[in-house]
């Protein structure tokens, strides 16, 4: 920690980590209902627990991104955050909206549009909070009057994410149009603008963790985000095959989405090369694990497993089966959960002034391997479930309910590996808690903050 106001990030990270743990609890709860029977049917049925699971995911990832911005922007622009008060107020509002949303779901108040279930007034609240956030960040950069490419990509990603939230506010009576614009939020987020955030956070971490040269890093950063948009924008069409729009989407969606893995592979190759060429120059091995892990897992979960079902000829059979669940879990975890965990573990020692114990803690490494192996196992279990389901239900023509009975064994595997994953989350939370509260001043953290030592000058 070099600037006093980077401490703000700690509180965002704290919220993110707690919401992450809660997300996983609701994941396990939802899965238990798959195994059935469900003693909570009348109280909290699957639709409720599942919506809580996925919404918490979105909320904690965004919380992490905003925390990351409050940490990265001072570093990159070499200045204090414009208004710390506004940043804390924003966090308070954001969490209030989150809590009200989740409690509302438990009482059945929902708009029921997958991943965008939040009731309309609360969505407006999200827009306000995003506005406050962007204002604060932009004023900071303006005040400093200097910015780097890395930070521009990060802020560009966050600002576009806010902009692309607008279709979520629109209502269509025509179900085809309802679907069409839902994907502007969901797909253009995770396979478009969020990838900018991912790429920028990855670049930031690589520059700090390795001895990589910023000029080279940022040159390739443009290639990555260029590839992302060239493939990802028209790639939205891979969700338009069967919703009642003209046939040309089969071609446009198939072709461009098939190019999407390029950006993800490029990111993995980029991380690998930077570290191989420039070597590791930083003691925070936990953060290094998460950084590389994220590059690898997003390439497998998004690039390979996404590609596996993106052609219309395949997608017509697998569409809406556990193949989607398999891909969704590994891709989301690899791309957006892991990069958040990376920046959190990177920033934590500096924020709390306890660098050494935390940056190399055995517990932190355990948390990494437990989560990674748990998620890998979950992906395998879901792949088995998805392939079997596709074959029995979609190709042979067994009924849905009969098929579900026949794939129960894969749900047991999902549960087993899910528990391993959850253990890793527990370890992570405990390790986070052990680090204690943030220090009051930069001086306190400077004594131990490795982040300061490894700094490479901003442009």
């Amino acid at each position: 920690m070099t600037f006093e106001t980077q401490r703000i990030a700690y509180f965002y990270f704290l919220a993110a980590v707690l919401l992450f743990a809660l997300q996983v609890v609701f994941g396990l709860l939802s899965l238990a209902k798959y195994l059935g029977p469900d003693p909570l049917l009348g109280v909290m049925h699957f639709a409720t627990t599942k919506a809580v699971h996925t919404n918490l995911l979105l909320v904690w990832c965004l919380t992490g991104f905003m925390g990351a911005a409050y940490y990265m922007v001072p570093d990159e622009s070499r200045t204090e955050i414009y208004s710390p008060k506004l940043a804390y107020l924003q966090l308070g509002l954001w969490l209030t909206i989150g809590v009200v949303t989740i409690v509302g779901y438990l009482f059945g108040i929902t708009e029921g549009r997958k991943l965008l279930e939040m009731p309309f007034p609360l969505k407006l609240g999200v827009v306000v909070v995003m506005g406050m956030f962007l204002f604060n960040i932009l004023m900071t950069i303006r005040k400093a009057n200097r910015w780097t490419t890395t930070e521009a990509v990060l802020i560009g990603g966050l600002a576009s994410a806010a902009l692309l939230f607008i279709p979520a506010l629109l209502h269509f009576d025509n179900y085809t149009l309802d679907r069409y614009y839902r994907w502007w939020v969901v797909h253009l987020w995770v396979e478009g603008v969020w990838m900018l955030i991912l790429a920028a956070m990855l670049a930031f971490l690589l520059i700090r963790l390795s001895g990589a040269d910023r000029e080279v890093m940022e040159k390739w950063l443009y290639v990555i985000v260029g590839l992302t948009f060239i493939s990802g924008i028209l790639g939205t069409g891979h969700h338009y095959y069967w919703i009642g729009v003209p046939r040309y989407w089969l071609f446009a969606g198939g072709f461009f989405s098939a190019l999407e893995p390029l950006a993800l592979f490029a990111m993995a190759v980029y991380a690998y090369n930077m570290l191989r060429r420039s070597g590791v120059s930083h003691p925070n091995t936990v953060a290094l694990h998460w950084t590389i892990g994220s590059a690898v897992f997003s390439a497998i979960g998004g690039g390979i497993l996404g590609f596996a079902h993106t052609w219309p000829q395949v997608n017509q059979w697998t569409h809406g089966t556990h193949i989607t669940t398999m891909h969704g879990h590994m891709a989301f975890f690899g791309a957006y959960a892991m990069i958040n965990l990376a920046i959190i573990t990177y920033a934590l020692p500096g924020c709390t002034g306890r660098s050494d114990e935390n940056a190399q803690s055995r517990l932190g490494i355990w948390a990494f391997w437990l989560m990674v192996s748990g998620m890998f196992g979950m992906t395998m279990a879901l792949a088995a479930a998805g392939i079997t389901q596709t074959y029995l239900e979609r190709i042979l023509g067994f009924g849905y309910l009969e098929t579900q009975r026949m794939i129960q064994v894969h749900y047991l595997m999902w549960l087993t590996t899910g528990v391993i994953f959850a253990t890793g989350v527990g370890a992570f939370v405990w390790n986070f808690a052990r680090a204690g509260l943030p220090v009051r001043t930069v001086a306190e953290s400077a004594a131990s903050g490795p982040s300061a030592a490894a700094r490479v000058g901003a442009v």
Binding site: Y175, W242, G244
Partner: protein, 268 residues
Amino acid sequence: MTKADTRRFFVLGTLLCTVAFIVLTVDSHRTVVAREHSRALGDDVRRGLRVWGVYNCENCHTLLGEGSYYAPDLTQIVAQRGVPYLQAFLADPSAFYSEEEHRRLMPTLGLSAQEIDDAIAFLGWVGGIDTLGWPPRPIRVSGMPTRLPGTETASAASDPVTQGRQVFDATGCGACHSLEPGVMLVGPSLAGIARRAEERVQDAAYTGSAQDAEGYLRESIFEPSAFLAPPAGKHGTADGLSYMPGIYTNTLDPQAADELVAYLLTLQ
């Protein structure tokens, strides 16, 4: 390659693709809206979409293959099940399924009669969307496969019985009728239906107007409520109406109907 080059690549690539995306969006949007003229969005359909949202159906079910995977896809459900059955089901799912048997059950959501009708209107409208042939084979809520792929023989392709079997599959009779003896889906199993049809018309309890097995089958298909086959019980009927949809007069052409009946007559 310099940083300025790669930046140009990013800016130009993004710009081009965004423009292409917007052009395609304008065209798609217009096409979709134009199709509304031939398939009007009634008020019930509009309200039905809200019912679908407010009760969070999408976080259990898929529709057009999108949603959640805890409950069956409902894209073709109205064509498969017909309105009376769905009305009864949505009012009380537990009358039709049990948690013991399937390990999961749709909760009784407390929809009003109006909401049920709206939801069905909405689902029916969605069922009419041109999905470019998705799903390639029907997805059914429950039942065993009616036929394993690859087991048809080419020589039998012109045989009316074989054709009738195809009509049976294509029309979706298998959604409600199993061909395994004793397996009750929504309707009774059709194993041995030829023999039973013969017995039915001679039975004193029979109140329909058919004279022979073939006539009985035709009546069952075209006027399902003319005679309610026992032991349908709560599974098959409500208020003297069969849950079997009365749509086949319109959807089956005479030749297909002949073939279907010829096929059913082989189920001794």
